[in-house]
């Protein structure tokens, strides 16, 4: 805990989304080096960047419309097919973000692994570059075997491209 945490408490989201300008970014990164709570906040947000990256802005940059959800689901399923071709070792993945009734929601599609209740295998490593200034690398593992899997974060590394610095390197212990 640091004295200036209150000043920065709501900055993490803007940082994660690449919305801080250079001055704010430098200032936040300096604070981050001393603040475990802000680092934890960044870690909790890290997977969201990857999910948002899957969203086609043309699909959501309109007033919320429940019917639009089905179009987005169809797009996500197409994405799923493409990803399965690319990386056969993975058992899953396709994500789409939707805005329904003004509330953000993200729908994840996972491939069905027969009926088996076997946990899903390979970790998925996703690297997202935010505004060309920050790399957010997340390593996640899929758990669960139903049609919807759970994405469990294992490790998050946040790197500043400007300073070639690792700002956050967090390993998340698996929940039992």
């Amino acid at each position: 805990m640091t004295d200036d945490h209150e000043l920065y408490v709501e900055w993490a989201a803007a940082y994660t989304l690449g919305a801080l300008d250079a001055e704010d970014r430098t200032s936040f990164e300096r604070h981050l080096a001393t603040c475990g709570r802000c680092a934890a906040e960044l870690v909790s947000q890290a997977p969201l960047v990857g999910l948002l990256a899957k969203v086609d802005p043309a699909e959501v940059a309109h007033e919320p419309d429940p019917r639009r959800l089905r179009a987005i689901e169809a797009a996500a399923q197409q994405e799923l097919v493409l990803m399965r071709r690319r990386t056969r070792r993975w058992q899953m993945v396709a994500l789409a973000g939707v805005a329904a009734a003004g509330i953000l929601a993200v729908v994840m599609f996972a491939t069905r692994q027969d009926d088996a209740a076997s946990p899903v295998a390979q970790p998925a490593v996703i690297i997202n570059s935010v505004a060309g200034t920050t790399d957010i690398t997340t390593s996640s593992r899929l758990t669960g075997a139903s049609r919807v899997a759970t994405l469990a974060l294992e490790r998050v590394i946040i790197t500043s491209q400007e300073r070639s610095d690792i700002l956050v390197d967090a390993t998340i212990s698996p929940a039992s």
Binding site: E10, W11, A12, A13, A14, T16, L17, G18, A19, L20, D21, D24, S44, Q45, P47, L48, L51, L52, V55, P57, V60, A61, E63, P64, G97, A99, G102, I103, L104, A105, V106, M108, A131, T143, G144, V148, A149, T150, L151, A152, L153, A175
Partner: protein
């Protein structure tokens, strides 16, 4: 994507930030609201998004 419960022009903030690549200060200037409000709304939006994912069992 709009701010939860806010379809006004100000509520379009996440669009501007994420897809248009605007900074919080640029969004604040465009909508004539404080920069801190933009940061705060981005903060709330990601919190809600994450909570929704966790509630749906998609994210842990």
């Amino acid at each position: 994507m709009t701010w939860p419960g806010d379809s006004s022009p100000v509520g379009r903030g996440p669009d501007r930030s994420y897809w248009d690549g605007l900074s919080t200060k640029e969004i604040a200037a465009r909508f004539a609201i404080p920069d801190g409000t933009v940061k705060s709304r981005l903060h709330d939006a990601l919190r809600i998004l994450r909570a929704q994912l966790e509630a749906d069992g998609l994210l842990r």
